[in-house]
């Protein structure tokens, strides 16, 4: 979790810097980190605004990017128990990283790992954003330290643990290929959502 927390904090700071430059003020970026809690979606919204895009375009880009949490939420639903309020609060800790590290095989997750990872990531992400908004100029660019390569590396390492049989290898290959082909032609976010549709093929056979 330590490198993950450092990476999350650094990119939270980078988001704060970008949001500041996009004219989002001081409070809005911090509130966004606390409520949206999704790096890619926040970067997308801030950069659309930075380029002079409309509010509708910014919201659409970010919402598309986070729509995958709908599918992930359904997949992890069996692990979430207790009152609906508790499930509501805990569900907000579902991010790519916490979901990925909580995998225990066969599509199941350990809810305690997911919640624990989310609780570690959250303060680093929001705290990083706050630092970025307030002291953006002092902090270096996280890309200088190669931190942008740490995320694909994380997902790659977790993907390797998922490739347990032919079905999962085929699903991964298909998901990766669909995403790659769609990157240049579809808006950001769509490649990952389209890739998640691969699992529906699993409905047909067996």
């Amino acid at each position: 979790m330590a490198p993950l927390a450092v990476a999350a904090g650094s990119f939270g700071a980078a988001f704060g810097v970008l949001a500041q430059a996009a004219g989002m003020g001081v409070l809005a970026p911090i509130v966004m980190s606390a409520t949206t809690f999704g790096g890619a979606a926040q970067f997308a919204a801030a950069s659309v605004l930075d380029e002079g895009g409309s509010v509708v375009a910014a919201v659409a880009a970010a919402v598309l990017l986070n729509a995958r949490y709908g599918a992930i939420g359904i997949a992890v639903a069996p692990a979430f128990q207790g009152s609906w309020l508790r499930r509501l609060v805990e569900s907000q800790l579902i991010v790519d990283e916490s979901w990925a590290v909580a995998q225990i095989g066969q599509g199941r997750i350990d809810r305690r790992v997911l919640v624990g990872a989310g609780l570690v990531l959250f303060p680093f992400w929001v705290g990083g954003t706050t630092l970025g908004v307030l002291f953006g100029d002092v902090l270096g660019d996280p890309e200088r330290f190669g931190l942008d390569a740490a995320f694909p590396a994380l997902f790659l390492a977790l993907l390797a643990t998922q490739l347990v049989n032919r079905r999962t290898v085929i699903a991964a290959a298909a998901g990766g290929l669909i995403a790659f082909v769609l990157i240049p032609v579809a808006p950001p976010g769509v490649p990952v959502i389209a890739a998640s549709a691969v699992c529906l093929v699993g409905l047909m056979r067996r």
């Binding site: 990476a7 995998q103 599509g107 740490a150 998901g175 490649p191 691969v198 699992c199």
Partner: protein, 97 residues
Amino acid sequence: MVVLLVGAFTIAFRAAGPVLLGGQELPQRLASAFELLAPAVLAALVVTQSFAEDGKLVVDEKLVGVGVAVVAVRLRAPLIAVMVLAAVSTALVRWAF
């Protein structure tokens, strides 16, 4: 405005599954389909995080880091080592060129 709307949508996306279906077992066929969600989405995340930037295909220094990560994963390096090696190798390439 943007912050409020995006926040509301995201909270709803995340909450829908656990709040509406929490604690119930998914039907067998659906559960076996969702076994494929993790490999498909993780592979898509690897690809988009490696190549996508603002809706364009971009090839840059971080591919070196991702390549190093592939080797590290093959050698069964621990998760932390994979991430650190990817970041350090990418940083070195950026620093050197």
